[in-house]
Symmetry: C2
Subunit: 526 residues, 2 copies
């Protein structure tokens, strides 16, 4: 009885071919001359199966459609697709699980990364080039449950064997992101999550696990009364996380900000001291790099100094652009915001390696078997609070290949330029008041439009009350006419104001001019 040794890895065998049961002998000719790095001939293993190269340029969308009601099949190449626990044979293009162990795939994925990320790739190249790994994704991922082909509706990711290329893509991209925020060698931990709110929730969970690991098994009663700090201008997800995770929203202490919406470090320190005096234990500070309303950047270095002094976890909710965040313990980075990746695409990045598995693993035997034939540290599922995860990495990976890092930078610069253009146009224009003085820190431009009827009115309750109704009214008219939409909200003691955020680099100065015209056209008679 011969078996592979424990955790042994079968010889790498990666191929662009699909395994087809009913290939004619003629297909052998196609196979012979077309081997490449990603291909090997395993036809000697099983006489009933032969590998054929698949020419992706001849693959049409309909080849990825399911057979009708499961009854109709292509007579020429009836597909047989199996998944780890599921029979899925309704798809005309077949997944024949083409196994590659992590160590054999890693060098390719690393070289794909370095090959094309700084500058952009020609658009026609993106889907066909092996450095984007589209072909490999098609042949190596397992289609779970629905049998959906991975390019249309990707497989879930909880183990390497189900989605090897996606797992490696995620690993490499997270490493790259950690490098970009300045952690040495990009070391650390991380995961793509279903949105920034969940990424922020992860940060709170991980901080709690770091300081009070016994909470995982014993619950919050095993810890003292813990408090979290975040700006009064921060995203509401920190407060939601506090409520959900059992801290209580009252124990999420809001920090005062300056006139530009930035946390005042002295206020943080005062509130930490105050909490300690009350017998509470300060645990976690969230700093925001690009706040939702003002686009403000909290003074991260000063906040980091205070976190070090009092031994608190520093999380940075990093919505908007690239900056160095070396001193953060964890970072939420949402490529679906300023980088323009379609929603959902959010990453939680953590500086301490391995801590996410410590925090979240439950070691479910039916998913995470230790006796697999590959290094099971590639199985990411157990460090998530989800089980199966939607594949959010692939679109981001392809966009990065297509645009390059430079492309993303240009994208963001263009948006910044347009915001600046808007700011310059309205800052001294009749009928406008800026919500705060000075150039916006990011692409958010916050302003009031003052209709002619209010321009002569002295400040006071009556004017405030009327002004409060102007933005909602103009927005409703915009929505009704369908020409444009701009958000508004009150903030603190400030009545409703417009908040224009430019995140589309294809917008132009004439679009901005149009917005101003529309506001004035609609607001003139109010």
């Amino acid at each position: 009885m011969e078996m592979f040794g424990d955790n042994s890895c079968p010889p790498p065998c990666n191929t662009l071919g699909f395994l087809q049961k009913n290939n004619s002998l003629d297909d052998k000719g196609r196979l012979a001359g077309q081997k490449n790095l990603l291909s090997c001939d395993n036809s000697d293993r099983d006489a009933r199966f032969r590998l054929t190269e698949t020419d992706f340029s001849n693959l049409f969308a309909r080849d990825l459609l399911p057979a009708k009601n499961g009854e109709e099949r292509l007579s020429t190449a009836p597909p047989r697709c199996w998944t780890s626990t599921t029979l899925t044979s309704s798809w005309r293009v077949w997944k024949a699980s083409t196994w590659s162990c992590p160590t054999s795939l890693s060098p390719w994925s690393r070289s794909w990364w370095t090959a094309g990320t700084r500058s952009s790739m020609a658009s026609g190249q993106v889907t066909h080039d092996s450095s984007t790994s589209c072909p490999l994704v098609l042949t190596s991922s397992v289609w779970l449950e629905s049998g959906s082909p991975p390019l249309l509706t990707p497989t879930c990711k909880f183990t390497y064997e189900i989605a090897p290329v996606f797992v490696l893509m995620e690993q490499l991209t997270l490493k790259k992101m950690r490098e970009m925020i300045g952690w040495p060698d990009g070391e650390g931990d991380g995961l793509f999550s279903p949105g920034g709110a969940i990424s922020n929730m992860y940060s709170v969970m991980i901080a709690r696990y770091k300081y009070f690991p016994e909470v995982k098994t014993k619950g919050m009663s095993a810890a003292p009364r813990l408090v979290l700090f975040t700006s009064e201008h921060s995203h509401y997800s920190i407060k939601k996380a506090g409520a959900a995770l059992g801290f209580g929203s009252e124990n999420v202490i809001l920090l005062s900000t300056d006139e530009r919406g930035r946390v005042i470090p002295a206020d943080l320190e005062a509130k930490i001291i105050d909490a300690k005096q009350k017998g509470y234990v300060p645990l976690f500070v969230n700093a925001t790099a690009g706040s939702t309303v003002y686009g403000a950047f909290d003074p991260i270095n000063e906040i980091a100094d205070i976190c070090e002094k009092y031994n608190l976890w520093l999380h940075v909710d990093y919505i908007k652009t690239y900056i160095k965040l070396c001193r953060a313990n964890s970072v939420t980075w949402n490529p679906h915001k300023m980088m323009g990746v379609p929603l959902q695409c959010s990453a939680i990045l953590v500086r301490e390696k391995g801590i996410m598995a410590g925090c979240n693993s439950m070691c479910a035997g039916y998913l995470f078997q230790p006796d697999k034939q590959y290094d099971v540290t590639y199985d990411t599922g157990d460090k998530a609070i989800q089980c199966g995860r939607h594949v959010d990495i692939f679109k981001f990976w392809l966009m990065w290949k297509a645009k390059g890092t430079i492309g993303f930078e240009q994208h963001i610069d263009k948006c910044l330029d347009l915001s600046q253009y808007l700011y310059n146009k309205i800052k001294n224009r009749e009928g406008y008041e800026m919500v705060f003085d000075g150039v916006p820190q990011h692409t958010n431009v916050c302003f009031w439009y003052i209709p002619p009827s209010l321009r002569g009115m002295p400040d006071g309750d009556e004017r405030r009350e009327k002004l409060h109704r102007v933005a909602p009214k103009i927005k409703a008219m915009m929505m009704e006419s369908g020409t444009t939409m701009v958000g508004y909200q009150p903030q603190g003691n400030k009545v409703n104001f417009f908040r224009m955020v430019v995140s589309n680099p294809a917008a132009t100065q004439s679009d901005i001019d149009f917005l101003i015209d529309e506001i004035e056209r609609m607001g003139n008679d109010l």
Copy 2:
């Protein structure tokens, strides 16, 4: 100064047309004769804009692609697409926010629902028929952040105004699902979430809020020591939720099961009494309808009796098929499992109306303004723990239209038939042992393959140890050869066994025969 009254709703104006700035006068002719229910002419509102009907049969995929680097635009119809807070004008097909208040859209969506859900719709009809609402989705959704068109990468959903059709689709589908599980008139609460694990987490949060609402603000220290109950065979996400939400995984008490993997009601009652005697407070019971490994159905009625007796929340993790679950307080229903909807598509359903907002709302002023011109109870974002949510409803809606309820039923029946076929083939076959006696309760067939070398061996540690290594070995060989994959795991004191789950209705009996052949071919010499 004339304004709409508070919460007034502008006259319904829905159209299939795109708003185009540079239309020639000729377009007016196209418009005139082509009005329909979903169309109205608002060209009198603004001379610069005219509505034109869009013929979706002439819309190609490239029309949905972004302009290259934001520079290149179609000269014939330069698009201008704005979003609520974002300029997004790079798409060649333009979203011109076509406003419809909830009350004006609801009748349509209700009629779409009743029109085509019981039986299936011809496949060609699905994308064009207005009852699927594809056209309306294109014109009415707002593209956030990335400006991605909703049919390719849907907009996020946190407010009605951003994704009106998706919000209504979600509302109607959740109501339909609640009706199907037997809650009167489909009343209740619910949300689509990023997977079953998160839906299960919601159920625990909501149960806690129901019995101890002060935990939301004051944290777990405001409650006594709470305990949760779930089967030793249940999905590990209940335990993860217990750890994440601050209960502690030790306070998730595992219930014993019978030989078929079903919770033993007497064990539940005994453990409730035991917990109470220790001074803990039993809060929540999770019952599973179709467990992960055995496909077992916990005896929900007996469990409901006990929950009523002790006043506990009953959640049902409802993975597999349609059954009545009237007595549950909440239900996780994953269309991405047996119904074959591509991942991710999971719903949390709650019997008590409005409780999710109570549990999760934080009333962020910048998103959920009370002074909008429509009924803001349609804004679903604040009852979620996410902010923006990926649109998971649309694919499900379209599948339901395409397959009909009958189609889903047939789909599941076919899978059940195939599992039965597999069970019948191997139950008395040499070399197989079933993990439990009797016909499977669902599509899970659990069995050991006994290689010839082990068949004569008496039961004992040596045989168990060797048998434990058989399934991993065969699975590794399957993955290496790429012909198939079947999962395995140990369970309790049972060594590694295969777990075959059929979820693809296009599989055939010959696929099952093939699986058996492969196992025997690979396992014969072990």
